[in-house]
């Protein structure tokens, strides 16, 4: 049986399907320093045979891996622009890397790799994300008055960044049947869903919570 929030979420996905970006959401994690971290990721569907866990993909060289290995809780914020509704989905994040011991999850990782495009697969063969671009040095710029009488315009450095060496990104598409080791399936297993509908008078908000392994409660709350 579907969790009770699946029906409104599937409805939102359907009613916003004309916008490709309706499948993007923001995933928040906590860094090892205890700071919040937030980025846009792509919804890759629900885990096969599970109907509750949301699939995301990520590069094992990405900074979010360290966040998740230290603090497995994550929160998705998913705003649908056309129907003006938001789902905040709190849950446990589960990384599925090449060395995973769970055969079912390894299979799900492989299926997900097969389903994505050549362009998406190629990114996992790119140079390490977040590392300085080869040959690029860090630049500094004063952002307020210098007090030295100069009237230079240091911000001009930022307006025309030099060309990037494209060779680190111009790769052959990887084998669609053999996931690269950098490819990580990331699952969010929901524990709490906060659904806010801005349309309507008044707005409507419902909180769903996992009470036991199999039972969800729901409660209408003030928006």
């Amino acid at each position: 049986m579907l969790p009770p929030w699946r029906s409104p979420l599937s409805g939102a996905l359907h009613r916003n399907r004309s916008e490709p970006f309706s499948r993007y959401f923001q995933l928040a994690t906590v860094t090892p320093e205890g700071y919040p971290s937030n980025r846009t990721v792509v919804f890759r569907g629900f885990l096969e045979g599970d109907r509750s866990s949301l699939k995301i993909i990520t590069d094992i060289r990405s900074a979010k891996i360290q966040d998740i290995e230290r603090q497995a809780m994550g929160e998705i914020c998913w705003y649908f622009t056309k129907t003006r509704e938001q789902f905040r989905i709190q849950g446990v994040l589960r990384l599925v890397k090449a060395q995973d011991q769970d055969a079912d999850l390894l299979k799900a990782r492989k299926i997900t790799w097969q389903k994505i495009s050549d362009a998406a697969r190629s990114q996992f063969a790119w140079a390490t994300p977040g590392q300085p671009v080869m040959g690029e040095r860090k630049k500094d710029a004063e952002t307020r008055g210098r007090g030295d009488g100069s009237n230079g315009n240091p911000t001009q450095n930022f307006v025309h960044p030099p060309a990037i060496d494209k060779s680190a990104f111009d790769v052959e598409p990887p084998d669609p049947h053999l996931p690269l080791d950098t490819f990580c399936l990331l699952l969010l297993v929901p524990k709490k869903v906060d659904h806010l509908q801005l349309r309507g008078d008044p707005q409507q908000r419902c909180i769903y919570q996992l009470a036991t392994d199999t039972t969800w409660s729901s409660q209408l709350v003030n928006p």
Copy 2:
């Protein structure tokens, strides 16, 4: 002088201005339990005379207040759908409540209150956000097989929620010159900005960091 990331951000705001939701972004905070929390908020412009701090508004009864009082770091994720670019803005969150000691910030709070619509102001007179709707009880639902032979459909409870008592939301618009005590101005003072442009071959990513009080560094990094 403007921080170096202001020009690309202002450009994105301008090029995406046809979409009202381009002024919405997701704000991540950390809860007192150390979990990430994430919600959509509205960009209310830059702080007057500051040119760097982003203005947000919030209700002092909102759960994010406790997050921020415990951990002042926040991260905004701002994705622009039309130009396909993302700004991740990490910074320190500063709450400006009615009792604030800083006269300039109190003035900014009042200006912001005056600028928002009657509808936006009215929300600060609504019933406490996140509290159960009056007269509404929590519901439970099994989401998998019950094993008791019944074939009831517990999810039907969720499909047609009962009507909400509208009186708690049907309020007179508050005085536009006198901010309600529930109204809180929230500033994010940026420390780091990660700008990713998905368009282009290859994608381009630049990280800006506040090196001193007045100096920003910038570094092109791999996307």
